[in-house]
């Protein structure tokens, strides 16, 4: 009886060399679909954003969306690709219920962008991931299985199809196989997808939200003994978080090493990543490869981007995110890791704008990465949609710097701001939250505190100045935190000296 023993990652990597490859799908944020004028808004009622074209009704014809072609070219340029002067869409034929025409209009042997690269940086070491192609295609609809307990097809009484997503432009970015990474392979995979996401976000062509599926990643992994040819690869589909990319590669290396250790052949197959367990499970077997019967799409004229237009797009590309990040980290006086967490939170532009509105880098970062990030997390919205503007955050920090708000009050003011009560000044006025440092108004509260705590007052009189803290606390309590602590302390000491 053979036993299946999972090797440790270290053992697997000590014995085998991994080769990885990544195919990333990005839904473009165009206003309309790839081949018709239907809206692309996420989350609409099923089948409300459809027309004869994206439903593939008999007789309907596609017309290519120029904005999608432009976005794809910009992605290609940002990934250092060559842009084809002439190319065509192709039909990829296969039957699937959520694909209206039973063929997907895609690109095959004539992609729009080829031969690029992305450099990723890990602990000061640079790894180059070469891009084979960037091409344009249309998304499919979504199947919904109802009546079962799991929402999956098994046990469902009915299957429904929502075609709202059908026809949304999708860009596929395919890397060349990346060998020679050794133990770094999972990290490089994650870093590459992160960098890709940042680049695409900087181009403003997609919201690249992995959790909403607007960016999806298929991870190819194979193992070979040193000196041998590359092994048989498996394809782990639809990995939907950055962390999962790393875990998927790692767990697939361990699983394949186990099979190779046993002398078992690796089957070329599609696998699915399990978020809960962190391993992969088999999907459709690829033993009999699907024949997609690609041929040039006869319903569409070829795409021939004007070279002057491409040059124009190239000239207008935003700075490379990694370069910009390094510059900002230096300007803001933070580490690369801290900068990465700012990027991951989607806070870069917000912090930049807050600084531009007058806040210090530390002040700006404090609010966006602290209170506001926490709130965005809790409510499940993007930081940019949390309810505060960079200008408001800058005003808030300004009031703190001027001593008109303490930390505790500032948090309350911010709460008012994100609740839609207006600018910090308006919230302060409406809620009566300003710091009170007027001695006249505070003297009564101080006298009250002294009268209520004669023992403590006596200690202070006897020279135990540290005991004054308790009196300050009492005053803060009666003034509901609005007193300026420094002023209160001075008043108490003056009274009791």
């Amino acid at each position: 009886m053979s036993t299946t023993v999972l090797p440790s990652y270290e053992d697997a990597i000590a014995r085998y060399e991994p080769v990885i490859g990544l195919e990333t799908h990005v839904e473009l944020g165009t206003n309309t679909k790839m081949f018709c004028g239907c809206p692309t808004v996420f989350g609409g009622e099923p089948n409300t954003q459809v027309c004869p074209v994206c439903l593939g009704l008999p007789g309907a014809l596609p017309v290519a969306n120029r904005a999608a072609i432009e976005a794809t070219i910009r992605i290609g340029l940002a990934l250092n690709c060559n842009i084809a002067e002439w190319c065509r869409m192709a039909r990829k034929n296969y039957f699937y219920p959520d694909m209206p025409k039973n063929f997907q209009t895609s690109q095959y042997d004539e992609p729009l962008c080829v031969d690029g690269y992305v450099d990723v940086d890990i602990d000061g070491e640079t790894f180059r991931v070469e891009i084979e192609r960037v091409h344009l295609e249309e998304d499919t609809g979504k199947s919904l299985h109802v009546g079962g307990s799991t929402g999956r097809i098994h046990g469902a009484t009915e299957s429904l199809v929502d075609y709202n997503r059908a026809g949304i432009p999708l860009v596929e970015i395919v890397t060349k196989p990346v060998p020679g990474l050794g133990a770094r392979a999972p990290e490089v995979a994650k870093a590459y997808v992160t960098e890709l996401r940042d680049i695409i976000r900087s181009l403003n062509v997609s919201d690249v939200r992995m959790e909403q599926g607007s960016m999806r990643c298929d991870v190819n992994t194979s193992l070979n003994l040193p000196g041998d040819e590359w092994g048989t690869r498996t394809e782990t589909k639809n990995v939907n978080s950055l962390r999962s990319v790393e875990r998927a590669v790692r767990s697939e290396i361990i699983r394949q090493a186990m099979l190779l250790n046993e002398g078992t052949r690796i089957f070329q197959e599609t696998r699915h990543f399990q978020e809960t367990t962190g391993d992969t499970r088999p999907g459709r077997s690829k033993e009999t490869a699907t024949d997609y019967r690609y041929f040039p799409e006869p319903d569409l004229v070829p795409i021939a981007p004007d070279t002057a237009w491409v040059a124009e797009l190239k000239a207008a590309l935003p700075p490379v995110p990694s370069v910009k990040r390094a510059r900002l980290a230096e300007e803001w006086g933070i580490s690369k890791d801290e900068m990465q967490s700012v990027v991951n939170a989607g806070a870069t532009e917000l912090i930049e704008q807050t600084i531009a509105a007058g806040a210090t880098p530390a002040g700006a970062r404090k609010w966006w990465m602290g209170e506001l990030a926490r709130r965005a997390n809790e409510t499940g919205v993007e930081l940019a949609d949390v309810g505060a503007t960079p200008a408001q955050v800058a005003q808030l920090q300004g009031l703190v710097d001027e001593g008109k708000l303490n930390d505790k009050l500032a948090r309350q003011v911010l709460e008012g701001v994100v609740s839609g009560e207006g600018d910090p000044a308006a919230v302060i006025a409406a809620r009566g939250l300003g710091v009170v440092s007027d001695t006249g108004a505070l003297t009564a509260a101080v006298d009250e505190a002294i009268a209520a705590n004669p023992d403590i007052a006596a200690k202070v009189r006897d020279g135990k100045v540290a005991a004054a803290g308790a009196l300050v606390g009492a005053v803060m309590k009666t003034t509901r935190g609005q007193a300026d602590a420094k002023t209160v302390r001075e008043l108490i000491l003056a009274r009791l000296s």
Binding site: L55, P58, A60, P100, R293, P298, L300
Partner: protein
């Protein structure tokens, strides 16, 4: 009576559009049981459209040149709310939620749509025998085929059920039925008429076009439906040539200075002697009108038929994939115990007829990996060579001429057992589709009492040239009326 004459009566007020529509509907009631040109008659829609024209006229509004004229539309073209089946069981009862662009244009021009005409299923065939709803009979001889795939459109004209009809031409489906029914059928330049709303057979070849009883009527209808459409990526943005003026010029009977090219490779191959005789007499008639005739060589035309029978089925196999029972039309075997694949498979098994299945299998094979280069790829190369033949020929002559079909209307069933014999019907029409240029079939005489068609082929976007030559021939040989039905004009 011609469409132009009917339009004249309506605009002058001598007849109302409702009277004209009613007369044609009555004619359909009287003869269509025997002819079976229509799959669906839209009585209400037709009368409604006619009433609108009469209203416009009574208000003194300007009417288009075909306002109030009835038109029959091939059932492969989407008509909003009116059944559209492509003569297939798989689409039985399907009512499109939208109009094809050319239907929009027909409605916009005030024409009155009578209904949907019969055809070979998904436009695959040359005899209308492959309709899932039964064949159409040729008004010249009810025991013979009316041509295909647009047999219903052509027969509706020959039987005087409609003065105008719309067809689609992928390999000759407008011209060949025109030829065997003694009517006029024109395939415009590919991209000159919009394919939006045309249920695709072979996307790179399909071309909607006009069917009529006279060249001028065809030109009038052509000018209504042609022109750029932003919804069809392959639609040509250029302005449509003035085909009506060209037809009227041709009708004056002067062809001085026009050079006609006879394709050497078409000389008599498989053509019936009677067809060739009528063709030769027509050429003589054109020479008498001042035309010059030279022989030109198109060496790759002999490969057109095999190339076509790889390209068209390949595209069809992909275009017809959407008919799977999931979204619309027929669904078979959905009893809760069968898998999706089984339901799709049973639906397609029951929904598609034999010729459609034959071509899907052929096309699937031709596109499959390992065979693509040998078949589809090779056929595309032949297509390029044929295009080159046309380009070279048009450097020497203004138009090319040939018989439209090698034979006159054949009896039902005589060719269905041998697909290759059926495919030969389109021998002379197919090269034009591979090239993309316009071509027209005009009646030129009779053989054994049955009509013979004369084909004029022109360079792309020179549709006007072929109308001029066709109208000149018509002025010399006249028009042809079938003898058997009672055929006095309906209007």
């Amino acid at each position: 009576m011609t469409a132009a004459q009917i339009a004249g009566l309506i605009s002058s007020g001598e007849a109302s559009a409702v009277e004209v529509a009613t007369a044609h509907l009555a004619r359909i009631d009287a003869v269509d049981e025997r002819v079976h040109a229509f799959l669906h008659v839209d009585r209400e829609g037709a009368l409604e459209a006619a009433r609108k024209v009469d209203e416009q006229r009574s208000k003194g509004e300007a009417l288009g040149p075909l306002a109030g004229v009835p038109v029959a539309v091939k059932d492969v073209i989407a008509t909003k709310g009116v059944p559209t089946t492509a003569a297939s069981k798989i689409l039985e009862g399907w009512k499109p939620p939208y109009d094809a662009t050319i239907v929009e244009r027909l409605r916009g021009a005030g024409t009155v749509m009578l209904g949907k005409t019969n055809m070979d299923e998904f436009a695959m065939g040359s005899s209308t025998e492959y309709s899932a709803y039964g064949a159409t009979n040729n008004p010249w001889d009810l025991g013979r085929i009316p041509g295909g795939s647009g047999g219903g459109s052509a027969a509706s004209l020959a039987a005087y059920e409609a003065p105008l009809a719309i067809g689609t031409d992928t390999g000759g489906s407008i011209r060949q039925p025109g030829a065997v029914t003694g009517t006029v059928g024109a395939k415009p330049t590919y991209g000159g008429t919009s394919r939006y709303g045309l249920i695709a057979f072979s996307s790179s070849l399909d071309t909607p076009g006009p069917c009529a009883r006279t060249v001028e009527d065809a030109a009038l209808l052509h000018s209504v439906i042609a022109g750029h459409d932003v919804r069809d990526s392959t639609s040509i943005p250029q302005a449509v040539p003035d085909v009506v003026a060209a037809a009227r010029l041709g009708a004056t009977g002067d062809l001085t200075g026009v050079k006609l090219g006879i394709v050497k490779e078409f000389a008599g191959e498989g053509a019936e002697p009677g067809v060739m005789a009528a063709f030769r007499e027509s050429v003589e008639a054109l020479v008498k009108l001042g035309a010059e005739v030279v022989e030109v060589s198109c060496p790759h035309f002999e490969f057109a038929l095999p190339a076509y029978y790889l390209i068209a089925p390949s595209e069809a196999s992909s275009n017809l994939a959407r008919f799977d029972g999931v979204r619309y039309g027929l669904r078979v075997g959905d009893d809760g115990n069968r898998s999706l694949e089984e339901v799709m498979s049973l639906t397609r098994e029951a929904g598609f007829g034999p010729e459609v299945k034959r071509r899907i299998i052929l096309g699937t094979y031709a596109l499959s990996s390992g065979y693509y280069d040998a078949y589809y790829g090779q056929a595309q190369k032949v297509r390029t060579l044929i295009t080159r033949d046309f380009t070279t020929a048009f450097e020497q002559v203004d138009v090319l001429i040939s018989p439209t079909t090698p034979f006159v209307a054949f009896p039902f069933g005589s060719r269905t057992s041998d697909p290759y014999q059926m495919y030969l019907a389109d021998l002379y029409t197919i090269p034009t589709n591979l090239y993309g240029g316009p071509a027209i079939s005009v009646p030129c005489g009779l053989s054994e009492g049955l009509p013979v068609g004369f084909q004029v082929m022109a360079p792309t976007m020179a549709d006007d040239r072929m109308y001029r030559v066709a109208a000149a021939l018509e002025s010399a040989v006249g028009t042809f009326t079938p003898p058997e039905l009672s055929l006095e004009s309906a209007a």
